[in-house]
Each structure stands twice: as C-alpha cells, then as structure tokens.
C-alpha cells in the first residue's frame, strides 16, 4: 500500500500556493542569496525585499541590534528601486517554480501608485504585497498604516494601478489592528498579511546612546510571536478576506499556531537569518505533522482553534 502525501496547497483569494510557507519581505533578499542553501522551488512563495520607485541607500549604521529572543532593525528600506529590480532581479525570479510576491512601498500615495503601475502587465509576479508601515512624508512622517482612512486610500490606489492580487501588510503599531484590516478589506484588498515589526528601542548604558542610528527600530523574532498570534486571531474574526500570519516563527510548530488561529499561510522572517534552510524544514515539518495526525489537507487545520473549556 502506498502512503498518500497530505495536500499542502492553500488558496489566498485569487492566489494558489503549493504550500502555506512564504519567506517574509526583507529577510530573504531577492531569493538568489539563498539559492545555494535550499531548494527555493519547494517554497510556497517568496516575498522579495520592499521595492520603492527609486533606489534607496537606507539608514546609516548601526542598523541592527540583537535583543532577547529577537532583533531590532532599522535598515531604512534600502533597495535597488523599480528599474533595476525589473532589469536585474526579476529575470532570475521568473524562472523559479514558486510564487514571487513583490513587496512595495512609497513615501507618498503617488509613489505607491507609481510602483504598482511599474509592475503592471509584467508576468512572473504572482501578487503584490503593500507595506503600509513606512512613514508618510506628506503627513509628518506618520506611518500610512496607522490610520484606517489613509490605509484604505493606499490600497485603493494600488488596486487601481495593478492587474495582480493585492495583499496589504499590516502594522502592529496601532491601537486596534482590526480597524485597519476592515478598512483595507473595504477598499478591495484581496488579503492581509500580519504582523510587520513592532517598534522598539535599545540603549547602550555606557555611551548613553541609542543602539541604532535611527533611534528606534522594528522588533522581530520569537519575542514578538505571541503578539502576532493574537493579532492574527483578532483579524481573522474581523474580516472575510484571507489572512497571512507571521511574526517570530522559528519552526513548524510555531507555524501551526498561526494556521490554527486562522491564517491561511505563514511568513518566515528572522528565522531565515538564523537558519537559511528553515523555510523548507518548516514545510517538511508541516507535512510530517499532517501525516501523523492523519490530516489529509493542510487547509483542514486552518482556523480550527477550540475554545479553552
């Protein structure tokens, strides 16, 4: 008797993934950096480094600092810009047999519009993920993603300028993440992903200076996982569009927490720095778990959280 393999395929609105494991933007470069260390084609998809209209040099160093069970980063969204991405990075990405999701951001609504338009009609891109956590230069640097009205506006403008499914990546640095999720759903987003990093700070007590040149940075890693799991739980119960969860996932058991809470896929971030092959190990772990639990399809486990009593 041959043992049948569990079905790992998941659907994120119009997007079908061969399994629910994606690599998170900013933690996996443009994919190629990891090509000698893992089979990228076995991933559900990769979300490439956040893309802006023009190249961005990023923040002065120090840009990263390790914290308990995590790290703070203030890279400053350094990237090669739209034109070089299309010319130098996309041809290699297109040849992959996995979903390539392009994360985009802007410093103004116009820039979001322009980046989305620049990717329109180009094949080899499975979806666009919109980073709304960056500062809005037109509104005193307050992040777009902290205001439901502005978040909806960004979503609408990107949708108007793209032919691809749109995932909006939500910031956790808000009073109630559900209000933002509902706003972008109303604006037409096909899915939401959460959480982006939590804003934090670390101080060197000897020099009495911040450990990051940017003063604050984004906290990631297992330190934030419980926050992320709870936010996913909340958002899943507030919107009807698919939710992609992530935040500090280090192994397949962590990934399962998000799936059980209702996420239809997960993003692996900081763990890629620690163990470059981790995403493939997580896929293998999910497959093994399904087999052991006699779960035929991974989708059967999504949102199966039980009440505490």
């Amino acid at each position: 008797m041959t043992e049948s393999q569990p079905e790992l395929k998941v659907r994120i609105g119009p997007l079908e993934l061969k399994n629910p494991v994606l690599t998170a933007s900013g933690t996996f470069g443009y994919g190629r950096e990891f090509s000698g260390l893992m089979d990228i084609d076995s991933l559900g998809g990769i979300v490439v480094k956040g893309l802006s209209l023009r190249p961005m040099a990023g923040n002065p160093p120090p840009r990263i600092v390790e914290t308990p069970c995590g790290m703070l980063n203030a890279i400053g969204l350094a990237n090669i810009g739209l034109d070089l991405f299309l010319e130098e990075k996309l041809p290699w990405l297109k040849a992959l047999n996995t979903a390539v999701i392009v994360n985009i951001y802007g410093h103004s609504i116009d820039e979001y519009r322009a980046v989305a338009a620049g990717l329109k009609g180009i094949d080899g891109i499975a979806a666009i993920e919109v980073n709304i956590s960056c500062p809005n230069v037109e509104q005193g640097g307050m992040a777009f993603g902290t205001d439901p009205v502005v978040s909806a506006k960004v979503t609408e403008e990107v949708l108007k300028n793209t032919d691809k499914p749109v995932i909006v990546k939500l910031s956790p640095n808000v009073t109630d993440i559900r209000s933002i999720a509902v706003a972008v759903e109303k604006a037409g987003a096909h899915a939401v992903s959460l959480i982006n990093t939590l804003t934090g700070m670390a101080i060197d007590i000897d020099s009495r200076k911040p450990k990051l040149s940017n003063i604050s940075g984004g906290l990631s890693g297992p330190a934030i996982r419980p926050v992320a799991v709870y936010m996913v739980y909340q958002v899943v119960r507030s919107v009807n569009i698919p939710v992609i969860g992530g935040g500090g996932i280090m192994d397949y058991r962590d990934a399962l927490e998000f799936l059980i809470a209702g996420a239809r896929a997960v993003q692996i971030g900081t763990a890629n720095f620690v163990n470059p092959g981790i995403s493939v190990e997580i896929i293998d772990g999910l497959r093994k778990f399904c087999k052991e639990q006699e779960i035929k399809r991974i989708e059967d486990i999504i949102g199966t959280l039980k009440p505490p009593f």
Binding site: G26, T27, F28, G29, E33, F34, G36, L37, A57, G58, N59, P60, P61, P62, R63, I64, V65, E66, P68, C69, G70, M71, N73, I75, A78, G221, P222, M250, T270, N272, F273, V274, N275, P276, G277
Partner: protein, 258 residues
C-alpha cells in the same frame, strides 16, 4: 558557501578571555580563503538568536577550521563553554577576503587585539614573501601565541598599551616605523578596533600605499539578505553603503569613508 554541522575538535584558552577552536568542517575548509568569515550558531536556543560572525583564523589537516575569538558577550561566553565532540552549525565561507600581493612584494600585517585572527591565516598563506607582522594588545595577558600556526621565526613585533610586552604604546607606532623602513612598495593588511584601523588607513593613504582592512560590524545573516552590516563608502555618487558580509569584510582602505 555551505551550512554544515561541525564537530568541535578542541576549544582551548590561549590567552586572557581568548579561545582557539578547531572544528571539523571539510566542505568549508575546501573553499576558505584568508579574510573570509563563518557564521556560527553558538547554541540551538533562541537567546541569543543570531549567529555570530568569526574571521577564519586558519585551516589545518585538510578538514579543520580554526576560529580564534575573544569572550565579549553572551554569544562568545556560550561558545567558550562548548566542549570537544559537540557539534555546531557553521555557515561559510562568507565574504570577500584579502587580495594577495604579487610575488616579490613585501607585506606588513598590522593587528589590534583579536583582529589578529584573519591575519594569522593570511600570514600562513604568504610565508614565501618578505613580511612583517605587527600585533598590538592592551596587555601581555591578551597576547595570542602564534607558534601553533607555524609562524615561528616570522619577523614580528609586539606592542602593548601597558608596556607589559614589547613596545609600550599603540601598534601604529610600530607600523609607522616599519613602513618607513619598507619604503617603496609594501602591501599593508590590517584588522583590529576601528580607531586603530582608522590610523592605519590614514598612514597608508597619506603615503599612497596599498592597504586592505578587515572590518567588523553587527550582522544578522551574513548572506546579503538583511542589509544590516552597512559601512559608509567613500564613493558617494556610486554607492552610499557597502555591506560588510559581501563587499567585505576586507576592503581597500581607500573605498571606505573613515
């Protein structure tokens, strides 16, 4: 570049807070060049979470990778407690190493403290050249013996800040004297604390002498993905920052904004 589980062959104290570790890592050793580094996960626990970057200090017996490190924080403290026979995940070799001078060219190696690590590997590979090896320490307690590296008999000088060994004062004093002695075509290689590197760069830039420096930064991935290890470039129009993990850790002193 390979990720492999490497068995610890030895992990012994060689100076105050300073350890030399030998790991069995044949695949990494096969590709390793002086100036390159490895990222070591010091424990499978989540705290500390990130791998630690270490210069490759040498290779021996075909499959042994040598790492010289100083205990400065939580990660290196854990590393110092790892015993023979245990295994650690090692990623490497990473980065761009030293460019060798042409045959017949003289070389001056200048290290500060634990910055001697990549220069030991370099010196081993340049034994056939005329070379001067200058190393500075805060105190004799920190002095790293180099006889094990097959470098005995090498033309070397030591300085200590407290005068407990060799010249009393910074290693850059020795360097300035040596460079004037070697006038006309010495290649300089240096690794150490930033103020020292800066001084070495100044001395060489003033004299128009070729100088390669190995720099250290905080680093998360070592692969060019996180872009956390930025250093300012001197080519402002072209590129604002280099990434130490790929463009370096070895740089031409002229290419950095000191």
């Amino acid at each position: 570049m390979i990720e492999q589980k490497a068995e610890i062959i030895f992990n012994r104290k060689v100076a105050s807070d300073t350890f030399l570790m030998g790991l069995r890592a044949s695949d990494i050793v096969a590709e390793a060049a002086p100036g390159q580094f490895v990222m070591i996960r010091v424990s499978p626990e989540l705290d500390p979470i990130l791998r630690r970057p270490f210069s490759i200090c040498g290779t021996q017996e075909g499959d042994m990778l040598l790492v010289l490190y100083r205990v400065i924080g939580k990660g290196t403290r854990i590393l110092a407690g790892v015993g023979q026979g245990e295994t650690l995940s090692v990623l490497g070799p990473l980065g761009t190493g030293f460019k060798f001078p042409e045959k017949g060219q003289k070389a001056i190696l200048v290290s500060g403290g634990i910055g001697i690590a990549p220069l030991i590997f370099l010196a081993q590979k340049m034994k056939d050249r005329e070379m001067k090896f200058l190393s500075g320490y805060r105190s004799v307690k920190e002095m790293v013996p180099i006889e094990w590296a097959g470098l005995s008999g090498i033309n070397d000088s030591i300085s200590t800040d407290d005068g407990t060994m060799g010249h009393k004062g910074p290693v850059t004093d020795l360097f300035e004297a040596a460079i004037d002695e070697f006038r006309g075509g010495a290649f300089v290689f240096s690794c150490g604390p930033l103020p020292m590197l800066k001084k070495v760069a100044e001395i060489t830039l003033e004299r128009g002498i070729s100088c390669q420096v190995s720099v250290e930064t905080h680093m998360a991935c070592g692969l060019g993905a996180c872009q956390g290890c930025a250093v300012k470039s001197s080519f402002h129009e072209d590129r604002t920052y280099f990434h130490v993990c790929q463009d370096g850790p070895v740089f031409d002193a002229r290419s950095l904004d000191w």
